[in-house]
Symmetry: C2
Subunit: 229 residues, 2 copies
């Protein structure tokens, strides 16, 4: 089986600050998407990586990544960007990972576990962790509606792994007017089972500026290279 990964990184979101789209924010002097490519290529299974970027960033991203990845232009939405990546998958690829540039330090053990679940027969597999915080639903006025039992709830990380045919079908049949929070949800909508594998606390998602500080600490401690807990 041949494994490829797609990183949709064409978002223009400047919410994280620094005047840069999130994927371009530096971590240890290197943009997040470059870390993400390195993290995927550290897996023993990943043979090629496709980065989907903004048209005006194509040359810059291409020169930063060199032969480590194929770089293509993205669409106006995350859905369109994943589609752009799927469109350039080489024919032999039969397992596809979708990874978030905002998770620059995912350990290779997590990537391997996702791939191995699909190689073992799963149509789709996602890395998960138990939920650490108490979760509550709130109403429009910010009042608590109820506390959610969290025993059966998992926080989902990336990369998410798919049998290629399953992901292509899920994306083709998705409702563009109802954007999914992740690619696995599109597969779930088809009634196709999605497996879970253990994620890692070091695969943090960069959301707030403080997360970059935490990621720098991880980078220096080189914990990011350790196996999943």
């Amino acid at each position: 089986m041949t494994v490829a990964a797609i990183i949709p990184a064409a978002g223009r979101g400047l919410r994280l600050g620094g005047g840069l789209p999130k994927a371009f924010r530096p971590l240890g002097g290197v943009p997040l998407f470059v870390h993400a490519v390195r993290a995927l290529r550290a897996s023993q299974y990943v043979e090629s990586v496709i980065v989907v970027t903004l048209p005006d960033r194509l040359a810059e991203v291409g020169s930063l990544l060199g032969p480590a990845a194929t770089v293509v232009c993205g669409g106006e939405s995350r859905h369109a960007s994943v589609a752009a990546g799927l469109a350039v998958l080489p024919p032999p690829v039969d397992v596809v990972l979708i990874h978030d540039a905002a998770r620059p330090l995912v350990p290779p053990g997590v990537v391997d576990a996702v791939v191995e679940a699909v190689l073992a027969g799963a149509s789709a597999a996602v890395p998960v962790l138990p939920v650490v915080d108490t979760l509550k639903t709130v109403d429009g006025a910010g009042r608590v509606v109820r506390t959610i039992p969290r025993d059966t709830i998992r926080a989902v990380q990336t990369p998410q792994g798919f049998r290629r045919s399953v992901l292509v079908r899920a994306h083709a049949e998705a409702d563009p007017a109802a954007p999914a929070t992740d690619d696995a949800a599109l597969v779930e909508a088809l009634g196709i089972p999605v497996m879970t594998v253990p994620g890692s606390p070091t695969a943090i998602k960069i959301t707030y500026s403080v997360d970059l500080l935490l990621a720098e600490a991880l980078l220096h401690a080189d914990l990011a290279a350790e196996p999943a807990e």
Copy 2:
């Protein structure tokens, strides 16, 4: 109004490692519960802090905290420990915060916001953040059941703040056989409204050993002293 805080820190859990109960794990050379006391006392409103600890740790905790907190023995459960704290609240206290020693770096702005919500009339208030990760429910075999819409879900932090009479009643009427994940849930069970206020990404919960590394980075960056985002 007089505001006091209780830190139930009598857990024997060694899951975090280091051969120590979590509250005693050092962060920057200082146990987590000491940071938690400092964080609460940094609020302009908190007049007294009660730390509930293990009987065999009472002298050690007392000497580490000195006049910064009242130290009492805890019970066998978190519920019993909070009850032990409530039992020694000075009579004038009318607002009670319950804080988790595993959140050593909660910014004073978050503590203030919780207190201010109760001072403004709320029976109970909890600091919350939007949920960053996609959430899915899983079955016993680790298969995804469904993706949970997270727009109305919040991750709950501490301290949680309560009008004293409300918390005392909620604890008295709680079912000890069905331990709640947090104190606010006991209030919700009475049908009493719980408000939310903005939490902070720096109020991280120490769950995995990697979280200590992240907390050290925050400590050095002194970001923990910044207002809530």
